[in-house]
Subunit: 415 residues, 2 copies
């Protein structure tokens, strides 16, 4: 075995990937979260509530439908997704989202993460500037990082991404060699703040994109997980210049276990995305597409949306009620109108990562430290609390426990 | 709309992707194959025969099993794949493939294409040297191309990749600044030649890898689609230095419509692959993994292998018989012992791409011109004929038609 050196894999890794692994190593949150065992109340991941999943009866009907199309359902598919499934998505978008699209504008993905991956692959050269929220969705940053962009952070407040600051930043960077190339935004149920971008800002964002020739990546996993009236239309529904690359997923309105999402964009963008995905994994699974097609065509997904909203609203309410009750006044947090998360700011002398150790060890409760959601290295005193999976009574117990750890920390001045 | 410039997407594309698109544009085969309509006999894709797919009865049993595990089957999974499914794969490999692996060595992928994608992402820096067969699997080249390697072509003959030439090339490139980094090989049912690499060469390849510190990517989609006795063990089964990254798929022994494959490798390689895939699409679908787990644990896949072999052997026999009968003596071809394809050499004054136009237009028969399988730009006079999908009598008719076009071309001296 003396010749054996291949194990020193770090030497063999590509520059861009090794760079990325280094960045990930520097964060040991992943390792920390491995400590989570069954007796810990976890507010970490954004896993949906199984009560929101399709019923076994409906699933059996869908299986009959799949078996009636067995030869196609088990065969290789088309990279863009089955045309008949994309037609079903188009009709769903028309009736539920006011988005109009043709077949050539729609691409099926293995979860919306794959849409993010492909956006990075197609559009980010090393050093290209990408505007994102402060904070913004962690896994989008992870997907983009491989391509080594330069992030321009744009503050998020209760009305979503602050487009006035964005415009100032766009102007500023236009005067450099590299203008901002695109804006990544989660307008409804922003991850992690749970905010909904106002209609005015959505329109303003489109104006900025038009005026300065940017494009917009609209990530919309929580578009249906909303808890108030008067939700503004998707940015894509307002986009008459075809500047928006819209992506969504069936993970929250059906189930994540089938890994299906979709992208709506300009025909040329879709063509290039298709070329990219062909090299990644050829095509999404036909079997799963037939399943979802059945649920869409029978309007089982449409009909399930009110129930899904109720499930998460109840949990959101439980978490907010418990936080109002137990959290010390030094802790501030958003009151989410959509999505799966409450995002909280601790006093600035508290490091949320350090707090997490204590929370897990002493009170058996876990959360995601917020720092990874900030591309500017800030947010060390923030935390994301997911209410999507635990039952309401468990949420209340968990928040009570977490409040104790925080109070204790505040008493000791954060050490 | 006068501001609108985003449509000029080619300007926005990343350098590496634009480069790749240019290469793809230069080949118009894709466009040509779009001409294929229902009345054309197609020997193009490598789609499995639906008779080889799982039976509806077995599938319904599997659905019962999935529904009994509904909460997990519909939930997000782990990037590496469900541990219980990976355990089922490990047992399958032990009893069917003499490959020993532990959980930490196995990763589930969205089809084996994703394994190729990730190998490229992890290991290919621009200009890195990768040894591949002449010819070799087209989609591996496509997956690697984005990362811009330099290919070193190694001749393939009836015993597979010529390892003596490989060793000479490895030696030669060791004297340059960039030695060869890894060897990509499809040892059983080589795509496109259908050859089986001999045991001696498999051993020699491992010796070369050890002596010159390379690693080996063993792509094994056709390992069970074999038509003779004495199939040598997988290279991975002989690999006592952990130098082989082994990848396979359930597409040919179950069905491509579920998009599941797997990788077996060194623990460190698997860890990095997992990090890469997490950013691409988070995880493979739990639903599909539960389905396959049922089929593996009940040995339904094991029990189906003899039938699958019979299906493709009959088709291989039909194609070879028809070629022996109808093809002019100027056409030479491999007699495949495994896989889905017959690979043929036309007289060197015939351009197979040009021939394809005539074949589709005049005789309504299609094939894949072989040039794309050669990284050195040769092979313009070769063609790959897939026998996996059409019925035996259709194969015979198709070959008869194709032979007419070729004879006609030979008569006219290739013009």
């Amino acid at each position: 075995m003396e010749h054996y050196k291949v194990k020193e894999i770090s030497v063999l890794l590509t520059n861009s990937f090794a760079n990325r692994v280094d960045r990930m190593k520097s964060s040991d949150i992943r390792e920390l979260l491995k400590l989570i065992s069954a007796d810990i109340i976890s507010f970490t991941g954004g896993a949906p509530d199984p009560d929101a999943f399709p019923s076994p009866e409906q699933l059996r009907e869908a299986i009959d439908y799949i078996l009636a199309n067995r030869e196609k359902a088990f065969q290789y598919g088309i990279t863009d997704g089955l045309p008949s499934f994309r037609e079903s998505i188009i009709k769903f978008m028309e009736r539920q989202m006011a988005i109009k699209a043709e077949l050539k504008n729609v691409l099926v993905t293995n979860g919306s993460q794959e849409g993010l991956e492909v956006v990075g692959r197609l559009f980010i050269n090393k050093g290209d500037k990408v505007a994102v929220g402060l904070p913004t969705y962690l896994a989008a940053i992870q997907a983009f990082n491989l391509w080594r962009p330069k992030y321009i952070g744009v503050p998020v407040d209760k009305d979503g991404l602050n487009t006035f600051t964005l415009e100032a930043l766009v102007k500023k960077h236009r005067r450099t060699r590299k203008p901002i190339k695109f804006v990544y935004v989660v307008p409804t149920g922003q991850n992690p703040t749970g905010t909904i971008m106002s209609l005015e800002r959505r329109k303003h964002l489109l104006e900025i994109a038009s005026k300065y020739d940017l494009f917009i990546v609209e990530d919309d996993p929580y578009g249906f997980i909303t808890f108030r009236d008067n939700i503004p239309p998707r940015i894509k529904a307002l986009d008459d210049e075809d500047r928006v690359i819209y992506m969504s997923t069936f993970s929250k309105i059906f189930a994540p276990g089938v890994r299906l999402g979709w992208v709506v964009a300009n025909e040329t963008v879709i063509k290039h995305m298709s070329l990219a995905i062909q090299a990644i994994n050829l095509c999404p699974p036909n079997f799963n597409q037939y399943m979802l097609k059945y649920f869409l065509d029978k309007r089982l997904i449409d009909n399930n949306i009110p129930k899904i909203r109720r499930i998460y609203r109840e949990k959101r309410d439980a978490m907010l009620m418990a936080m109002d009750e137990y959290m010390p006044s030094e802790v501030n947090y958003y009151r989410p109108d959509a999505g799966f998360f409450v995002f909280a700011y601790l006093p600035d002398y508290i490091d949320a990562k350090k707090l997490l150790y204590y929370a897990i060890e002493k009170e058996k409760v876990a959360f995601v430290p917020g720092r990874s959601f900030f591309v500017d290295g800030s947010g060390y005193n923030t935390m994301r609390l997911s209410y999507s999976l635990p039952k309401p009574n468990v949420i209340i117990t968990g928040i009570e426990r977490l409040s104790r750890v925080i109070k204790d920390h505040i008493k000791r001045g954060g050490s």
